[in-house]
Amino acid sequence: MLNKNNKILPFVYLLPTAILLTIFMIIPILYTFYLSFFDWNLIAPTKEFVGLKNYIEVFTDPVNQKVILNTLIYIIFLVILNFVIPYFISLIVKFFISKMQGTYKVLFFIPSLFSLVVGAMIFTWILNPVSGPLAYILKAIGLTMPNWSNSGILAITVICLITNWKVFGYNFILLLTGLGSIPKNIIDAARIDGIPKWRLVWNVILPMNRGIAIYVLILTIVQGLQYVFTPINVITTGGPYYGSSNVIYQTYLNAFVLYKTGTSSALAITTFLIFLILLFLEIKFVESRDKDYV
């Protein structure tokens, strides 16, 4: 039974969060929306109203177009590396082996404890095309390591691999937990009927685990695009020629390197609108119906 009498007290408990969210999230979002209609450089005393110019620039400027295309490539790579592969592995660990599940969980998670700056540093060492250990091994078998930092697509691949190193274990655990909450009698019944394991996974397990899978998938995109910021900034700073920049990094460059707050804000609002579509999908498919306040 919930206490329905007290009208004021719940809001007292909510007050600290409400104040913080208002000052550091709600007002900032509105202010960024406001800034997206102006030309400004973060310092000048006046802002010039330019209407929709910044938004038109988001879609017509060749650099921004390239960055939007890169963002799509990032999304594809991130979904494969940080969602599909951990999902596959969690299915293996849950249904195809019978021992050491706990050990794999503990070990897979370890890289999640470390900063992406550490990850970026280690991988620039491993993948150094001239003097790194991988180049050394490749040379021993007669291959040469490509100079990946000169190619946008290869740089994107490396950057995604670095975030994969960090978030693999985390996503693996979330997906494994989801698989663990599927009632065992359903799986047993299918087993008794002699249905092949992969068939069982495809026809029963995946549909039943859809909620958490969509949650992890959406989080992979929303957080992944932000996670890659660190390796981009540490290793490539968006280069070669914006080849490894994405919409998040470009927003930062415009604001704090090029001092174009208008373009930056328009990019940020555009990103937010896309994330809101993902939020809508999350609420529709994931936030469960059994919560009495949803």
């Binding site: 039974m1 206490n3 329905k4 007290n6 719940p10 408990y13 909510l14 600290p16 969060t17 913080l20 550091f24 900032p28 960024t32 592995i89 293996i92 195809f96 082996i97 019978s98 050491m100 070990l107 897979f108 998670f109 890289p111 404890l113 470390f114 900063s115 992406l116 700056v117 550490v118 540093m121 280690i122 620039t124 491993i126 150094n128 001239v130 050394y136 091994i137 190193w165 979330l174 494994l176 989801g178 909450s181 958490i212 932000q226 660190t230 900034n233 490539t236 927003t251 604001a255 704090f256 930056s264 940020a268 937010f272 809101l276 939020l279 999350e282 609420i283 936030e287 919560k291 306040y293």
Partner: protein, 272 residues
């Protein structure tokens, strides 16, 4: 029952373990190698001439104690703030029925979908106005509440039997006491594990601190490490790896101690 064949899947899984762990082992090993050895015996995990010179050099070049203190202070403020706001918010949701509850809940979910880029300019301006640039307090201030924490606490609080709270109400125990003397003790395991996760994440944070901390004296460990990485290939890796090794000690220790709780809380955060 004699079909004990080796399960080949373990080969794949052990390979993944190696990919996860080996980079860290090599990093630790390299931080005890001389620059020369880091090239000549690159693939060996045991340093040929183990040395702590890299750590001594680091200690001359940067203020290790100051860096660690800045990082620790920032992570502690962020963790305490997130725990307090999270517990209070979850308690309000657990214990009261009020108007707009569903809307407020969805608003919290929505905060997870707010890209940091949309708040970074205004928040930067606010922190600058408060004269908190180059101060870890300025880094911590905008991130004192966290939706994931609220959700994990809410899930744990929902398991507290209503009869317990009702009994306390009947005994006329004031709400404040119910919160501090009944709810908080029951939640101790999840407070510890969520706190550990908050602390580790904040300890490792990079993006927002780079905007606020420009002065080297105010740097946190990840920012200092970035200064040792050069994209042109001139990085002194043993040195950078020594700094990284220092950086990972605390998160690793926390994980060793609270591993079971931490993994449980992460599982909980995903249970929908």
């Amino acid at each position: 029952m004699f079909k004990r064949k080796v399960n080949l899947w373990h080969v794949l899984l052990i390979l993944i373990v190696l990919m996860a762990i080996l980079p860290i082992l090599f990093m630790i090993s390299n931080s005890f190698k001389t620059l020369q050895d880091s090239y000549s015996s690159m693939l060996s995990l045991i340093p040929k001439n183990p040395t702590i010179d890299n750590f001594l050099t680091l200690n001359r070049q940067v203020n290790l104690l100051g860096l660690t203190w800045n990082t620790f202070l920032m992570a502690t403020i962020v963790t305490l703030g997130k725990l307090l706001t999270g517990l209070l918010t979850a308690y309000a949701f657990r214990s009261y029925q009020f108007r707009g509850k569903m809307l407020i809940y969805l608003l919290f979910v929505a905060t997870i979908f707010v890209p940091f880029t949309i708040v970074m300019i205004p928040n930067y301006l606010v922190i600058a106005k408060l004269d908190l640039l180059n101060n870890v307090v300025g880094v911590a201030l905008p991130q004192l509440c966290d939706a994931t924490g609220i959700m994990i606490f809410l899930k744990t609080m929902e398991k507290i039997p209503n009869s317990l709270i009702d009994a306390a109400h009947i005994d006329q125990i004031p709400n404040r006491k119910i919160f501090f003397n009944i709810v908080i003790p029951i939640l101790k395991p999840s407070i510890v594990s969520v706190g550990a996760i908050f602390f580790i994440n904040s300890w490792n944070e990079y993006v927002w601190p780079t905007l606020i901390l420009k002065d080297k004296g105010s740097f946190t460990l990840p920012l200092a490490l970035q200064n040792y990485i050069s994209s042109e290939g001139g990085t002194n890796f043993p040195l950078a790896m020594a700094l990284s090794t220092i950086m990972i000690i605390l998160p690793l220790l926390i994980y060793l101690i609270f591993q079971k709780y931490i993994l449980n809380s992460i599982s909980n955060s995903g249970l929908k």
